[in-house]
């Protein structure tokens, strides 16, 4: 029974991580590509961590390291995505102060 639960979460997590990577490869421009990695960490790694916690908690003793891994991932993933996108905007000369959110303009894409 435990094996079924663990395998389910492992497969689900791996599946989401895979789809995140496919997204990274398929998306047409920089900012759409950025969506893949930030998302793969949330549900992909989340699924694997649930599997890990279940597996190591059903034997003797419990395993709570996974809670910490989740916390640190959730703290760091958005920060790195934010920094990467900021760097991209600095490199792309077409981002004027207005386009960075100073004004009310929105735009179609960023390539």
């Amino acid at each position: 029974m435990v094996e079924i639960i663990v395998s389910f979460f492992l497969l689900a997590g791996a599946g989401f991580a895979l789809i995140g990577s496919i997204g990274l490869a398929r998306m047409p421009d920089f900012f759409t590509r950025l969506h893949g990695p930030t998302k793969a960490t949330t549900l992909g790694v989340g699924g694997m961590l649930i599997a890990s916690a279940t597996h190591f908690s059903t034997g003797p003793g419990t395993s709570l390291h996974e809670v910490l891994v989740t916390m640190f991932l959730f703290m760091t993933a958005p920060v790195s995505a934010h920094l990467v996108s900021k760097a991209a905007m600095h490199l792309d000369g077409s981002f004027t102060e207005e386009r960075r959110g100073g004004g009310d303009s929105t735009r179609e894409d960023a390539d």
Binding site: F16, I19, G20, I22, G23, R26, M27, P28, D29, F31, T32, L34, H35, G36, T38, K39, T42, L43, G46, G61, T62, S63, L64, H65, V67, L68, M71, F74, M75, A77, P78, V79, A81, H82, S85, K86, M89, R99, R100, G101, G102, G103, D104, S105, T106, R107, E108, D109, A110
Partner: protein, 161 residues
């Protein structure tokens, strides 16, 4: 009390982190944990420019629930978007006017936006009044902005202000 523990929330977080790292509770771990929980905030006191004092717990728990729910549901929707034809995507930048004042709350808002699938926060304007967000599939920019403000910013205001 406040001189010994200038940052009670951080002290508690440190203690819990310490116990989780060691994967258990024992007298020795508790003592060393308390030493860390009191010592680290005292030594790093000058690195904390401002500090959120009041946090309402009930809206906090509700927000955590909303965010986890959204991560799961929206991730499934993202799978369809990513594997479907790329031409069907309508990626767009949207600008979210920020009503929060607390810098920490704004950080949380930007992080939540990045963690929930479909949106990545890209830039916060210098005056901390608007947040540039890249959305993978926008049907209507105004509804997208309203949704984020309603779902995430309002609970954050209830928690911190």
């Amino acid at each position: 009390m406040s001189r010994l523990m200038p940052q009670p929330v951080i002290s508690v977080a440190l203690l819990v982190t310490w116990l989780l790292l060691n994967n258990g509770v024992s007298a020795a771990l508790l003592v060393s944990g308390v030493v860390l929980a009191v010592g680290v905030p005292l030594f790093t006191q000058h690195f904390w420019p401002e500090y959120v004092r009041t946090v309402r717990l009930v809206p906090l728990v509700r927000l955590v629930g909303i965010v986890i729910h959204d991560i799961v549901i929206a991730n499934l929707r993202m799978v369809v978007l990513i594997l479907g034809p790329v031409s069907r995507l309508r990626p767009q930048f949207i600008v979210i006017p920020v009503s929060l004042n607390e810098p920490f709350a704004i950080t949380l808002l930007a992080s939540i936006i990045s963690l929930t699938p479909g949106t990545v926060s890209a830039n916060l304007s210098g005056d901390r009044r608007s947040l540039l967000v890249h959305d993978l599939n926008v049907e209507d920019p105004d509804t997208a902005v309203q949704r984020i403000k309603e779902r995430y910013e309002r609970p954050l205001m209830e928690i911190f202000e």
